[in-house]
Symmetry: C2
Subunit: 91 residues, 2 copies
């Protein structure tokens, strides 16, 4: 049995890292009249499906993918959620 | 009374729009050995705080911000979540 999971990965800058894009968006929003906006931080949102033996295997793979490619862990944090989407019988 | 909300905004490409960045990441992940990965789509994740009269007001402001600046609604969808973080008494 293998299982396919729908995964949602959130990659955000660490709080100590400056976010010039977020600052630019915040100033843009204020110029548009949204005075109540603060602390804008921009991150990445990645959706993908993973086929794995089980949920633990899928989570391990996602951790490795984030460490190796999807996030720069020196300056970014990541977190993810996964939900099973279909069962397949392996031949 | 005004209320400050922590908001998380997700901006994703519409399903009908090609995502070359997602395709590149998918091929990168496969080259790293993650053969079970499919349907990689890259979006934006924006965190901000909004101070507004109430939750309806905050949601209205977020809708307008997304339409005006944060998302390109021709090719992107957006959704958001908000949670109250603190109460303030307006003078």
């Amino acid at each position: 049995m293998s299982q396919t999971y729908q995964c949602r990965i959130y990659v955000t800058l660490r709080p100590s890292v400056l976010d010039p894009a977020g600052t630019a968006v915040e100033s843009g929003l204020k110029q548009l009249g949204y005075q109540g906006v603060q602390q804008v931080r921009i991150g990445k949102y990645i959706e993908l499906t993973v086929t794995a033996k089980d949920e633990t295997d899928a989570k391990d793979q996602l951790d490795q993918m984030c460490e190796q490619l999807l996030a720069n862990t020196v300056i970014e944090n990541y977190r993810f959620e996964l939900t099973p989407i279909q069962s397949e019988v392996m031949s």
